[in-house]
Subunit: 233 residues, 2 copies
DNA sequence: ACACTCAAAATTGTATACAAGATAGCATGC
DNA sequence: GCATGCTATCTTGTATACAATTTTGAGTGT
């Protein structure tokens, strides 16, 4: 069941698990046991353990000694923290990217935008196509960070995005506000292509703040609804 | 030889190794083998492997499949990247800290400053005492990040500081410029205690830039000297 | 003296066996 | 009916055996 037989089993187990968590196939709060995963992937527990270690370091699962691992659940405050950091890092990365982007880089960004528009324009599109659009939108930020040239910055931003992504998949997917992000993405790419670092940075920071407000509002509403249900029962 | 028998061997191996790397006992570029560490710590290879996985995720060691692990060597560009990120994160953390610090927090910061001054004032001090002052100076930043209340921010900053620390120990130790940092630290703590978030942030960012310039100048000089030696031979 | 080949040693990757601790369920006593 | 304690089971923690791969070094041929 391992997607691709890479160099080591540990790596492919890690990739498989990470993909399953990030896409929400294994939802937050799920208990994951070494034996189950090992059996499912037809490997021994050893590579699974090592994959778990790395995932724990990534913050995707949390484990307490001798009590097993659980897919990390984000609460509202963790989201607030994550977006606060993203505003700093993403803003800076976008500034840098605008300053150093080559023509090839710019073409790459425009291609992602085009793909987003194409997916958005499909009438009566499937869930899968919605997923793809969201994925591409997140990827835009990853690519911008990569273009910035600061490898460490790129790595840290990817880490944060991974951690938040499964919530985007499962929650944000149904929000119409997403089309706002589409416009903002286009503006950011414009600024980068124009080489206007300052404007690109400002737009990126505003974009992250906007996303944060949307996500937090949704989570708050959900939390309120759940406590309402709890009180009613 | 494991310093403290904690809950799990993996954790104590991780702590021991991390301490040895961060303090420079195992210098950057050293090859570390599982068997050696396992023998040295009187444990089997299994917990050592898991510790290595975590250390690799921390960026303290780098390993290629079937080729073993090496304590990560920082080149100049990696330092530049790290300090660029620190300027963002440290600046923001300091702003936050100034906004939310309680009296207890402020006392904690002042205590660290006092300790630094005490250690700095010792005449003919030992290397150990110099170490302790540097350690305290770095700890100040960790505590500020903790006071900020953003747990993720604190974690990320600690990660960066850990990665750079062994260089501070082995290189920066001999720089007189360190006493500049002492004054700047005092100013930052002053601003935090005064609740002046904007000033605290500005000072912190300038401080990180200053540290960066010092470190980069030193590393550049060292690199130049080494290429001079190479040419001469 | 140099290069190439092959084998042996060292090192990591994986599997499995066993130990220790935690959880859950059942039985027992009140 | 409820609480408490025990046991059985499940899960992780550790050690060790074995497989696979890389590196190193000796030896041979030119």
């Amino acid at each position: 069941m391992a997607k691709e037989t890479k160099n080591t089993l540990r790596d492919s187990v890690y990739s498989s698990l990470k993909a399953m968590i990030v896409t929400g196939q294994i939802p937050p709060g799920s208990r994951v046991t070494e034996s189950d995963i090992a059996a499912k992937l037809n490997v021994s527990r050893t590579p699974v353990r090592e994959a778990f270690n790395r995932l724990e370091r990534d913050g995707l699962v949390t484990g307490r000694p001798r009590q097993g691992y659980v897919v990390t659940e984000f609460d509202i405050s963790m989201f607030r923290e994550a977006f606060e950091i993203r505003e700093l890092l993403d803003g800076h990365a976008t500034e840098l990217a605008a300053a150093v982007a080559t023509e090839q880089d710019k073409a790459r960004l425009r291609a992602i935008l085009t793909e987003c528009e194409r997916l958005a324009a499909i009438p009566d599109r499937t869930t899968r196509e919605k997923f793809q659009e969201l994925e591409a939108g997140i990827d835009l930020h990853r690519v911008i960070a990569q273009i910035s040239g600061n490898v460490m910055l790129h790595g840290m931003l990817c880490g944060i995005l991974d951690k938040c992504q499964h919530y985007v998949w499962t929650e944000l997917l149904w929000l119409d506000e997403w089309k706002i992000a589409r416009d903002e993405h286009a503006e950011i790419v414009d600024a980068i292509c124009a080489g206007d670092a300052s404007r690109a940075g400002t737009l990126a920071r505003a974009h992250v703040r906007g996303s944060r407000d949307n996500v937090l509002r949704l989570l708050q509403a959900k939390s309120d609804y759940q406590s309402f249900l709890a009180k009613a029962s």
